[in-house]
Amino acid sequence: MIRAATLAFWSHWRRHPVQLLTLVLGIALATGLWSAVQAINAEARASYARAAAQLGADKFDRLSRSDGKPMSVAEYLTLRRAGWQVAAVLQGTLRVDGASVTLTGIDLVAAPDLPAIAEASADSRIAPLDALTAPGLLFANADLARALGDRPDLPPVIETALVPPRRILTDIGTAEAVLNSTGQISYLLVLPDQPMGRPPLTEIAPDLTQEAARGTQDITRLTDSFHLNLTAFGLLSFVVGLFIVHGTVGLSFEQRRPLIRTLRALGLPMRLLMRLILTELLLLALLGGVIGLALGYLVAAALLPDVAATLRGLYGAPAEGSVSLRPIWLVSGLGMAVAGTLLASAQTLWRLSRLPILAAPGKHRWSARPRAMRNQLLIGLAIVATGIVTFAVADGLIAGFALMAGCLLGAALALPPALAGLLVLGKQMARGPLAEWIVADMRTQLPGLSLALMALLLALAANIGVGTMVASFRLTFDGWLDQRLTSTYYVTARDDAQGTELANWLAPRSDAVLPIRSAEITTGTYPLFVYGIVDHDSYRRHWPLIAADADVWDRVMTGQAALINEQMARRDGLWPGSTVSLAPGWEMVVAGVYSDYGNPTGQAIVALDRLLAHFPDVPNTRFGVHLPADRAEQQAEALRAAFDLPPGAVIMQQGLKAQSRAIFEKTFLVTGALNVLTLGVAGFAILTSLLTLWSQRLPQLAPVWALGLTRSGLAWLELLRAVTLAAMTALLAVPLGLVLAWLLLSVINVAAFGWQLPMYLFPFDWVKLFALALLTAAIAAALPMLRLRRLPPAQLLKVFANEN
């Protein structure tokens, strides 16, 4: 019995291979995009975790000299001999294949166990003798290890995946030799388990300041938003993929109803039947899931290098560009595939389980019922309201995303009623029987297409929203770069003495030499950078103030007031007129707030003499040089030669801007790719819905055909209907997309980064997207249309035969 029933069941797929393909592909698409995003997120997070674990560095407080200079071994010993448990770290940069990498040398004897070295040691059986005595060992990831392996001047390299990209970990003794900085210490890690009775730092080393453990919180917070964005995209793709599954499963059971009726009439119990169906769905889900995972892996592998570059460039987060297969990822991907398939099939299965044994197939059970439509509209509005209430009650990123989810989901649910409303209007405007039939037929089709149209709505709205955000960000960012980077080039000296020489050399040769001097102050939980500036027209004219008192610059330059960045203003609620505490015992009035994109920390600007009054030792090594652009390159070259400056010491404004823009573009390349993918999936959903509707459509089309409309004419009308519905959906998607954009710019950004972006509108992009939506619908409707054109008249005739 089971065997016979199974064979009968599977015969359906043999006869409809395209349907089988569609179903499996739907599951695969849903799983694939979701898994791709998960893989990218997991990989990036793993990279942060590795970086954090590598030094453990960020777990511990740090001691360093207030003036930023390196410490001596004698200073380290003073602390140690006073009982302070600290581990010395020497850090520097190394040029490898033209790029700079950070080399961190930690006292491996005193430092806590470092996972990277522990693991590498276990694998390669490293003896302490090799790691601690000359020539020593370098630890780096595979890519860097290969590059370092070609350098005979460097110690042997041990490959380990636990060291983040572009970083080298080693013992401090080895670092000294490689960096040629014997006897220097960059900073000290304050270890746990300090002894009783340890004297205070001010007593034994007044020159040192203790900086609180910075943790991975910064990176996590910053990148959270990025990952949430990706997750939202992944979920969206998943949902859209499920629409396809839903459509195909509905279609297959619709077509198998006669078969099911026959089987049940022959005595197949309902429970066995359901078990067979569930087994079938499960197998298909697993098949689709496996294909989806493969797909997801490929997508992730293709996107990850850009994501990694973005994260590194924009946030300094140490992400790597390669995907590794994690068991949890495989399991969760398959789980999502199975759960999604069952969810998408639930409605069909429910209906099937309640089907009377001898119910006739092919009855028109679909029609736009006004009552159901009104309920759906109310539910949709309720979901939007829930999102708004959540946002009003709670705060932060999650609340922002709740609001966004509420708006999107609610709007999607409200779409079919809205379209139905539009069609009522259309019916009133329709003239002639054919036009009236077309509109009426569209209303009949609406429930069957509504899920696919919802998918299209979401995809379009996401496209408009994200597109608007990116474009607004780009405009603002460009403007901001132009405002902030006003110097022709920037130069960094080795030390204060050279800084003075540089300034003297530059003074007669340029229009202005502006010192860039700052002190890092840790008050409370986050660091604050206070910059001291000298009066110059370029500040007064270009500095991007978003809120300011009158005569703001005069008050700042005469030392009466300070400027702070937007992040700090929003975080601490400080605006012009407020008083800000810059350091213990140093308070100033805020005269203005400026935008400061991409900076996670607080920043303040005061007159240089005010800064020096509180921090006389701030280094004087960086300068912004103003001169006509055509002389810049030449002078920079002369400067390099005169002072034997390393390549990174002089940075041209143009190059800096170009680099910043490149990083920016990379950031949003990923979102662009995902945009295209979601739209494609939505188009696919329309196709499957139309195919599902196909069998129900014949009884509706046959009478019209019998009345004299050609098959070709009918086919064109099919296309027209699909495109019209898509057009209406696209029109409704524009306001939704703009709401989404506003949420991203004014809510999500503020919560995630602490800055608000002005919103610019790009109507031309909407027109392009509108056309794209029509094209998507047309392509999706093309297959059913062709099928209709080639439909043998006999089949249309058969409709009448079957009816009675």
């Binding site: 380290y76 009982g83 522990a118 005595t133 003794g173 030799a177 002894p195 009783m196």
Partner: protein
């Protein structure tokens, strides 16, 4: 395996052989090897011997608190060389490890320090004698006045010490055999120190007086392959006699010791002269170890029970071992220290 763990393996010879690192603990690989008949010279030999693989300065003290309670403390500096010789700076092959502990009748506080040589963070100078790691220091004249300090998260101690007797050479004039196969070390002691000072504990400071015992040992091949650990006793009897006795556990136990008369006259106790029998075991703060022993030296008429002051005196260091004060009852009365390693 971690670098630190590897270092500790080197520093901790019995862990080496117990961990199956055959060869590390027994082969000398370019290091100097103790030789019978070499005369020890002082004060030079109070200092470090960087050509030998391992070395330690080991002080234990049994104390009476002004509050009427018994206390014990430990101060140890280990040296282990990755290769023979010393070098300036971070690339020195000499690694130093400090262990310090205070034991009360109901608690045990300990801590561990690590450093490399070459930068001055840890080391030993022979004359004037000074052994230090970080802020911990043992200094002065081992035949006169000395000072001792150490601190951990839960304790600080500062002691003044006064030698009341001579240095004692173990084995054959300081050449102490450790196995049937002939592994040996140089080994001498200063067991005649009177001490007074203060312990700062979580419950507050307490003034203490008592007696201390310094052990000095260096070698390059301390154990044979089959030896898994040892039980080591240093006892100060009420008649002012001192007894050092140890049993190295292996496929065949090896015992050795020294009978030290009140005037410092030392008599070696050959393999088999000492009988140690566990009486009661306990597993407090660590694996099960014998915390009460029956110790017999028939040739000297010694037949005593040795009981731990606190059964949980486990050193919670990278390689745990048991080290704590004991009381002696039976044919003789007294106090002392017990060290047990290699139990798991």
């Amino acid at each position: 395996m971690k670098i630190r763990a590897l270092l500790l393996l080197l520093l901790w010879p019995w862990a080496v052989s117990a961990q199956g690192f055959a060869g590390l603990g027994t082969a000398a690989e370019g290091f100097a090897v103790p030789e019978r008949g070499v005369e020890l010279h002082f004060p030079a030999d109070h200092g470090a011997h960087p050509d030998f693989r391992i070395e330690w300065w080991y002080l234990t003290a049994t104390l009476d608190g002004a509050d009427g309670r018994d206390y014990g403390l430990q101060w140890t500096l280990f040296r282990s060389a990755l290769k023979p010789g010393e070098q300036e700076g971070w690339q020195s092959p000499q690694i130093w490890m400090g262990h310090a502990a205070v034991t009360t009748p109901d608690a045990h506080y300990d801590t561990e320090r690590l450093s490399r040589g070459g930068i001055g963070q840890a080391g030993v100078a022979a004359s004037p004698f000074r052994a230090w790691i970080d802020e911990w220091e043992m200094s002065g004249d081992p035949l006169g006045a000395m000072r001792l300090t150490a601190a951990g998260p839960d304790f600080v101690y500062r002691l003044d010490m006064q030698a009341k007797g001579p240095l004692v050479l173990h084995g054959d004039r300081g050449y102490s055999v450790k196995s049937q196969a002939g592994q040996a070390s140089y080994y001498y002691s200063q067991p005649f120190l009177h001490v007074s000072g203060t312990l700062d504990l979580p419950e507050g400071p307490v003034a203490v007086t008592g007696s201390a015992w310094i052990d000095r040992e260096w070698s390059s091949q301390p154990l044979s392959d089959d030896q898994t650990g040892w039980d080591w006793f240093s006892l100060v009897l009420d008649d002012n006699t001192r007894v050092m006795a140890f049993r190295l556990r292996g496929s065949e136990d090896f015992t050795s010791g020294t009978w030290i008369a009140p005037d410092g006259t030392a008599t070696p106790l050959a393999n088999g002269a000492i009988r140690t029998t566990p009486v009661r075991r306990a597993a407090e703060n660590g694996p099960e170890v014998p915390v009460e022993w029956h110790l017999e030296i028939p040739s000297r008429g010694l037949d005593v029970q040795v009981s731990a002051l606190y059964a949980g005196a486990w050193m919670d260091t990278s390689f745990p071992y048991w080290e704590g004060p004991v009381t002696v009852t039976g044919s003789h009365a007294g106090r002392g220290y017990l060290e047990m390693t290699g139990y798991r």
